[in-house]
Amino acid sequence: MGDNGVFVKRAMVIGGGIAGISASIDLGNGGYEVVLVEKLPSIGGRMLQLSETFPTLDCAQCTLTPKTVETGQHPHIKLLTYSEVEQVEGKAGDFRVKIRRKAAYVDWEKCNGCGLCQQKCPSKNPSEFDRGMGLGKAIYTLSPQAVPNKPVINPSNCRYFKEKKCRVCEKICPVGAIDYEQKDRFVEERVGAIITAVGFDLIPRESFGEYGYGEVPDVIDGLAFERLNSASGPTTGEIRRPSDSKIPKEVVFIQCTGSRDPERYMPYCSRVCCMYTAKHARLYKHKVHDGQTYIFYMDIRSTGKGYEEFIQQGMEEEGILYLRGRVSRIFRDGEKVIVWGVDTLTGKKVEISADMVVLATAIVPQKDAKDLAKKLGIKTDEYGFLTEVQRKLRPVETDIEGIYIAGCAQGPKDIADAVAHANAAASKVQVLFAKN
């Protein structure tokens, strides 16, 4: 209850991935005002990096864009992108959230999203969005369909910030929106409930010496393969290996990299890798008909609707070769990447001379999830996933009334489950508001 006894029927959603978007749209459609806070310059989250999605193989951008556009245009949803939660006070019905609006060095009020600044910016750097495989500009948006479609300047790549030179974007901008002097700003929002949907990360590549990841350029992770396969990615959708841009003819996919490995990495299963690896192998075969794919696995986990059928079809109709076993070492040998492993079904050692290796690396919480949880006063587990109050019957509620969790921040899950989980969180908020 607020100071004047008013229960604020306005919600905040932290995280603008598919979970946060789904929750926001439900709440907005329910007639409640929503403040959607996203730390990146635009919404869409990880799904924006994906090429196609299993098990239907429809284009991720094509299914996501209507949702991001709807969010951006929704009369009840206020977008605060490039923003982070700094401090949270209060209780259900009266949270006061201090938000840091990071300096974009672009006046978004003036900017009309024409994109001239990005075209003319001379600074090219490996793009994090493209998993280091493509080049991005120092002034950038995450995608041409970004919502909102306003760029930010990354000072660590910008020549003006580094050497006080350049100012090309400032000169070219037709509306005078560039503002190198911009500072972080703080705003406060009053809300009655908060949904935390901060998503996931992949386990950092520095962790994987034995897989050659980070050292051998043609050893990439699953998200990088998504970008390679994406029409809007660095190769415009052609499967070309990073080292020499050749089309790889033998590709090895390795599942459970960093998952189900309690001694060295994460003990848990990352839930989505079996399916996305099968998808990767199938998409690769659709593009490189004479290519051969090998998948190292521990158990094949295809538990969702239509998933088992998807895997079987890949094996039977597309000739994808599954090898049950772990990989012990990956190293470079001339142009080839050598994979040593064991096939536990024959008990024999296997050596594959591959052109490219894709690692299905473990899903881990966002680095700052623990920090955010502390600000909110909610719990995380030993890995940093947000903890629900009761595993089965209350899967989206936390110990604190008015604070809910959604999507992969709670634990690895696929898009369908993340969406349902987020909708569920939105239901709890609507119930809370209706009761007060």
Partner: protein, 650 residues
């Protein structure tokens, strides 16, 4: 003359990689009534929409064609954009040059370019003759029907009721709980299933906004989103539930005993009984097929002993009419029928039981009071075989899909077994171990290590009885050797299948099911709880196998969708529906017969056919069937369609 605008999207390289968008824009721009023709990399993006808005303002456009992806993607986006400039949204049409052109002609760039141009020209023909239309506002009923009283239906009902909406909850069994009421403890934390469920079910029973109808089924449904009309059949319980106090004296005194389905054939039940001990509601029903009064009139025992005079042999099925605005289908699952599992000896060998049978055995309120003893002789089994994927993942003979929960259920069973029988040995035959949710892998690994469970990767070929034991023949694919286990008891993790009657129910609701009978969602990823029929939502295992946690999330998700749907006073529907030229209509009534949505009706006074605008989905069946061409579709008239066809053939 019209002033039309054409906006051609590159869709990144999706369209522009195949279609020469610049030349198309240029050629279309030369059309007489096209006042503006432009292309852009992503028309759906904010700057793309800005181009459209500015052109409408600057050039005074009175019709717009956006050439881009399928209308199911962005028709709404662009109609909103034109509306913001005061243009009627139905004067904006999509020319699909992606799915229907660039994607299917990637290798024929010139032909694709020509085709894109033709598609746009044809769409221009349509826009030239489009009328300005207004969305149809329909009043909505703010009550909700939930079908199924398992944990999914209970969760959805409580969310909706707490959200302030009245709920009608139907359960065809005499009590709430569904399959969760049969479970002992739940993975991965081994909480007792019943206590958690009991709290929720009791909350439902008490809730002033939930009208609970147990022993009831949905008989008929008419109407559409916001306005469904229902007929509910309340089966005769033969007990006046208003009078009955649940004392249980009738059950004690009933002389008829028969095998209980709830106890999976291991316990007995009376002809008057509750679904399970302490059921919610805790009132019995007379199962008439077993009751001697109903068979031959020979027994009145329950009537004699009932202190409240609640027994009513004359009670008849009752039909209730209700109106609701939305429906949640939470009809749950069954296990694969045992009659069809010959090679596992299931149904023939008494010591071969299924997972739910084992759950009943483990339940303190079950037939053995929680003790693990084999059904044949009551001995404690020392060698136990658990077989996973029985009838799942077996496309040639049974179900091709994975039943999702059996790996965890089996690991839980083996763990509880070892706790109760420390010197016993469990063997688990599996194909892949699937423990893919939060805490599941850890549960499984810990259980394997601490309880020394023996996992054998392979299929079982035969199960047969021999010398008082159950022999299991299988193969261990990791060693490549045959395995034979002489077991005392075998538990089969049988496949999850949709519950009986779902197909009929789906047909009544105009929802669809897949080839296995699971209800179909509108979009597997982004609309996982919406059916393809507006106003009908899906929760729980009726949609596909899932565990309790995912079922509960999905159920709450349906509640979120419905709370949002019912939060407004009126629903706005697309006006792209059929209309009748009253001068021409002869009143033959063919359209009334043919309409799949019951949207056509005869006007008895004027003798002509009318369109119920809220029901009509614009499918066109009446238009095709009208012998007099008296019927047309708004903004899809015969003259419009013919003009479009002319564009392609000329």
């Amino acid at each position: 003359m019209k002033r039309l605008g054409v906006f051609i999207c590159h869709c990144g390289a999706n369209i522009a990689g195949t279609v020469d968008v610049k030349s198309v824009a240029e050629k279309i721009g030369k059309t007489e009534d096209v006042a503006h023709s432009a292309d852009y990399i992503y028309m759906c993006s904010e700057p793309g929409q800005q181009i459209i808005r500015e052109a409408i303002r600057g050039k005074g456009l009175d019709g717009v064609v956006v050439a881009c992806c399928s209308p199911s993607m962005h028709e709404n986006t662009f109609r909103k954009a034109v509306k913001s400039q005061g243009m009627n949204p139905y004067l904006c049409e999509i020319a699909n040059i992606r799915e229907q052109c660039s994607w299917v002609h990637q290798k024929e760039k010139e032909e694709a370019t020509r085709k894109a141009e033709e598609i746009i020209q044809a769409t221009l023909e349509k826009v030239r003759r489009n009328d300005s239309l207004e969305a149809i506002a329909v009043a909505i009923n703010r009550r909700v029907l939930v079908v199924g009283g398992g944990i999914a239906g209970i969760t959805a009902s409580l969310d909706l009721a707490e959200g302030g909406y009245e709920v009608i909850l139907l359960e065809r069994e005499p009590a709430l709980g569904g399959h969760m009421a049969q479970l002992s403890r739940t993975f991965p934390d081994l909480d007792p299933a019943f206590s958690g469920l009991f709290l929720k079910a009791s909350e439902v029973e008490r809730h002033p906004k939930i009208h609970l109808h147990c022993y009831s089924e949905l008989e008929d449904v008419k109407g559409y989103v916001g306005n469904f009309e229902l007929v509910i059949r309340k089966k005769a319980t033969s007990v006046d539930r208003g009078r009955c106090t649940g004392c249980g004296i009738c059950i004690e005194n009933c002389p008829v005993e028969y095998v209980s389905q709830f106890e999976r054939g291991m316990g007995i039940r009376k002809a008057i009984d509750t679904l399970y001990p302490s059921s919610v509601p805790n009132k019995p029903v007379i199962y008439r097929e077993h009751c001697r009064y109903f068979i031959d009139g020979s027994c009145h025992r329950c009537e004699e002993v009932c202190p409240e005079k609640a027994i009513d042999f004359k009670q008849e099925d009752e039909r209730i009419s209700e109106k609701v605005g939305a429906v949640v289908v939470a009809t749950g699952y069954e296990l694969y029928p045992k009659e069809q599992l010959g090679e596992y000896g299931y149904g023939e060998i008494p010591d071969v039981i299924d997972g739910l049978g084992f759950e009943r055995m483990l339940s303190p309120n079950g037939p053995t009071k929680g003790k693990i003893i084999r059904p044949s002789d009551g001995k404690v089994p020392k060698e136990m075989v658990f077989i996973q994927c029985v009838a799942s993942r077996d496309p040639d003979r049974y179900m091709p899909y994975c039943s999702r929960i059996c790996c965890m259920v089996t690991a839980k069973h083996a763990k509880i077994y070892k706790e109760q029988v420390p010197d016993g040995q469990p063997y688990i035959f599996y194909m892949d171990i699937r423990s893919d949710c939060k805490g599941y892998e850890e549960f499984l690994q810990k259980t394997i290590e601490e309880k020394r469970l023996l996992y054998l990767r392979g299929r079982v070929s035969r199960v047969f009885q021999d010398d008082g034991r159950v022999r299991v023949l299988g193969v261990d694919t990791l060693t490549g050797k045959m395995v034979e286990v002489a077991a005392d008891m075998v538990v089969l993790a049988t496949a999850i299948v949709p519950s009986n009657g779902v197909k009929d129910l789906a047909a009544k609701l105009r929802a669809t099911v897949d080839r296995h009978g699971f209800l179909t969602e509108a979009h597997i990823k982004l609309y996982p709880v919406e059916s393809s029929t507006k106003g009908i939502y899906l929760a729980g295992c009726g949609q596909s196998p899932k565990d309790i946690s995912d079922t509960v999330s999905q159920a709450s998700a349906t509640a979120s969708k419905i709370q949002a749907l019912l939060s407004t006073d009126k629903l706005l529907q697309d006006p792209l529906i059929a209309f009748v030229d009253e001068e021409i209509c002869s009143g033959c009534g063919i359209c009334v017969e043919i309409c799949p949505y019951e949207a056509r009706e005869m006007d008895p006074h004027r003798g002509i056919s009318m369109v119920h605008s809220a029901l009509c989905q614009g499918c066109g069946a009446c238009i095709a069937s009208c012998p007099n061409n008296a019927c047309e579709l708004r903004n899809g008239s015969a003259s419009q369609v013919l003009r479009m066809v002319d564009t392609f053939v000329s």
